[in-house]
């Protein structure tokens, strides 16, 4: 199933392939169907459809110089490129490009951990390094720093950060792109750029001060298509001596407002790690009367039934890093603040453990309450266990996991905003005839980003696994994105098939953001060869592909 790059003839393609082989060696250029199979997104909403986003070939460089040569060849032959680190960003496109027939630049061979410093607390890595690789390096060298890892941890710190991915420890480290410090980029003309203090050849501060001098172009490479990142620095969390957790529960629905305000205060003072919110009343949804009250947002009835059942309306698990003494003091302070602000609040002490936790402590929580925390990721230990949730394999591709066919939308970081979002999402679900994934009145936010809430919605869009059902789900998600935009709920990440639609949401001043980015794109990348279409940024050379995946 040979696919050519758009506008490129077979002869031109064959010549380009031979040129690539002369750069990286025959064995590192992949054109067979069996090899290309690894570069398909097996979670794609359009898998096996005629418009599936499949590359024409893949090439595996092992040095910056080879990346530069590949970029120059791509310009010469006008072949669009799509770079991947480990290619494991499943549910957001994985290894698949934005343009069918792109040449995938597989950076996995560039897998060196260049430096880790556990006194100044930073790392410098290449794109092929995975979180697990970095974790192994730190363990092997006995370094006292942590990786703030996503879940699963088989992805790349560079790839994850560039897609605005997140983790689960302390606030400054959870926003992986913000936690980066300095990058090296191969630009669309093949030149090498270093950001921040990397622009000063003799500086020793590349991984300590990211602004450098003057405008900082680093943001252009996050969810952008202005270059191929070949090195990236990250600030790392020092390994704490102790970890503690505890549970806070509140009785009434409206108590959530004060709970969030208090948690925000503790978070922004740097006193707690990621808080894990959960509802306390899911068990009551089997009660017809409660379900009716929840669906109608009848707060008085919900509170009455919660009290009668002896269940809290809301829960938040807090976690603390530091010494045994400081974690205890911070937990006591958290309890004092909550008690000051919320009558009837209750607390349950969790565990208090020296760091590092043992394997047994990681695998088995001994907290005296049901904990939603996946323990390994709170300890900077990457894992693979989260794949219990997938039903899909190549053997049974129709066992397509429905869990991540949905959206995570930005919601204001307050209880009031969460309550509004619950009602808005419930209303949108009804109008689009889409079942909600959660009982909407009980939906909680995630606080992956320290200063923001994200809330899941649209997870009921997929009603089955047939190609038609997947198409229908995609159409529904597009309508959902439109409806969300009207009410201010923007998406923070998306697979290629939805990136144009998400970009449409950011429409202030006649989509000035996209117009600005595309003006830059055309100036910096006149042939448009670096990941055209990424984040809805289309160069002139491929402008006719904008919206081409929409089948409405």
């Amino acid at each position: 199933m040979a696919i050519l790059p758009p506008g490129v003839s077979q002869q031109q393609f064959d010549t380009a392939i031979n040129r690539l082989k002369s750069v990286v060696g025959d064995e590192w250029v992949f054109t067979s169907d069996a090899d290309i199979h690894a570069y398909r997104d097996h979670f794609s909403y359009i898998k096996d459809q005629p418009n599936e986003l499949i590359p024409c070939a893949a090439v595996g460089p092992d040095s910056v110089e080879q990346v530069q040569a590949i970029v120059r060849i791509a310009n010469e032959f006008q072949i669009p490129l799509y770079s991947i680190s480990t290619g494991k960003n499943f549910a957001y496109g994985g290894p698949s490009p934005n343009v069918r027939g792109s040449l995938t630049v597989d950076l996995k061979r560039m897998d060196r951990v260049l430096e880790v410093d556990d006194k100044r607390n930073f790392a410098l890595v290449e794109p092929g390094v995975s979180y697990i690789d970095l974790y192994n390096y730190i363990q092997e060298h006995g370094l006292k720093v942590w990786v703030d890892t996503p879940d699963p941890g088989w992805g790349s710190p560079i790839g994850n950060a560039l897609d605005h991915g997140i983790g689960y420890t302390l606030g400054p480290y959870r926003d992986h792109f913000s936690a980066h410090c300095g990058m090296e980029v191969v630009l669309p003309d093949g030149e090498i750029l270093r950001t921040g203090m990397g622009a000063m050849p003799t500086s020793d501060s590349w991984q300590e001060y990211k602004h450098g001098f003057g405008p900082d172009p680093a943001g252009l490479f996050g969810q952008g298509n202005f270059g191929i990142v070949t090195k990236m620095g990250f600030r790392l969390m020092p390994q704490p001596e102790h970890w503690r957790n505890g549970l806070v529960t509140v009785p009434r629905r409206q108590d959530f407002i004060a709970m969030v305000d208090t948690v925000n205060y503790l978070t922004d003072l740097g006193m707690i790690g990621e808080p894990w919110y959960s509802g306390g009343l899911q068990a009551l949804m089997t009660n017809t009367e409660f379900a009716k009250a929840a669906n109608a947002f009848n707060e008085e009835e919900m509170d009455r039934q919660a009290i009668a059942a002896g269940l809290p309306s809301w829960r938040v698990e807090l976690q603390f890093y530091g010494s045994e003494g400081t974690t205890l003091a911070n937990w006591e302070y958290a309890k004092e603040l909550m008690a000051r602000n919320i009558p009837g609040v209750q607390f349950t002490d969790g565990e208090s453990l020296p760091v590092p936790l043992t394997d047994e402590q990681i695998q088995k929580s001994s907290t005296p309450y049901e904990s939603a925390m996946r323990r390994n990721i709170t300890q900077g230990r990457p894992g693979l266990g989260i794949w219990y949730m997938t039903g899909r394999t190549d053997f049974d591709p129709n066992a397509w996991n429905e869990t991540h066919i949905g959206l995570f939308s930005l919601v204001g970081r307050s209880g009031e905003a969460v309550f509004k979002a619950q009602r808005d999402f419930a209303d949108i679900s009804r109008r689009l005839e889409m079942p909600g994934f959660f009982p909407n009145a009980l939906a909680v936010p995630v606080n992956w980003y320290q200063n923001s809430f994200l809330m899941g919605n649209g997870f009921g869009a997929a009603k089955g696994n047939s190609p038609q059902q997947k198409k229908d789900a995609t159409k529904l998600l597009r309508r959902l994105l439109e409806e969300n935009a009207k009410l201010g709920y923007g998406d923070y990440r998306a697979p290629p098939i939805l990136q144009d639609d998400v970009a449409d949401q950011y429409s202030f001043n006649n989509n000035i953001l996209r117009r600005f980015n595309e003006k830059l794109k055309n100036a910096i990348d006149p042939n448009g060869i670096i990941s055209p279409g990424r984040a809805g940024i289309w160069p002139e050379a491929y402008a006719d592909l904008r919206g081409s995946l929409r089948e409405d």
Binding site: A38, T86, P152
Partner: protein, 153 residues
Amino acid sequence: MTNRRQFIQSGLVFSTLPLTEFAAVKMAVAAPEGPELTLENFVADRRYAESMAAASKLGAQGVPVVEISGDLTDLWINNYSRKWKRSPMTLAGLTGQDALFVLETLAPDFGMRVVHKQLLDAPSSPTVLSTSDGKPQVFSWIIAPKNSAYAAI
């Protein structure tokens, strides 16, 4: 990273089974006829009695067995992530599909691929994993270097 297209034979052959033992592996993983199978590991999933039974039999015949309970994290971080970087290997297993999914996804990065897999009928132990039709999925499988003789069958 090692050469992805080179079949590695020396230094890592932990157990070469003569035909009689190969038959046991074949039965364990329901594999088709093939050349002599050089197995470095059999991955046993503690959640399934069938898997532990196969592990017991193969272990008695000298095949090194590693055990998981679905989650591959420890096996990957402490073992395979390092071994596979040095060179590809041949391994077999009888596991839930969640574990197979992780290994089949990682294998191509290290010059390997799944060369055999078969869904087991009516596994004895239910899995916590939910699939689209609610049925547990347990697979027997073999992963081998992608240019190995076994992969060519």
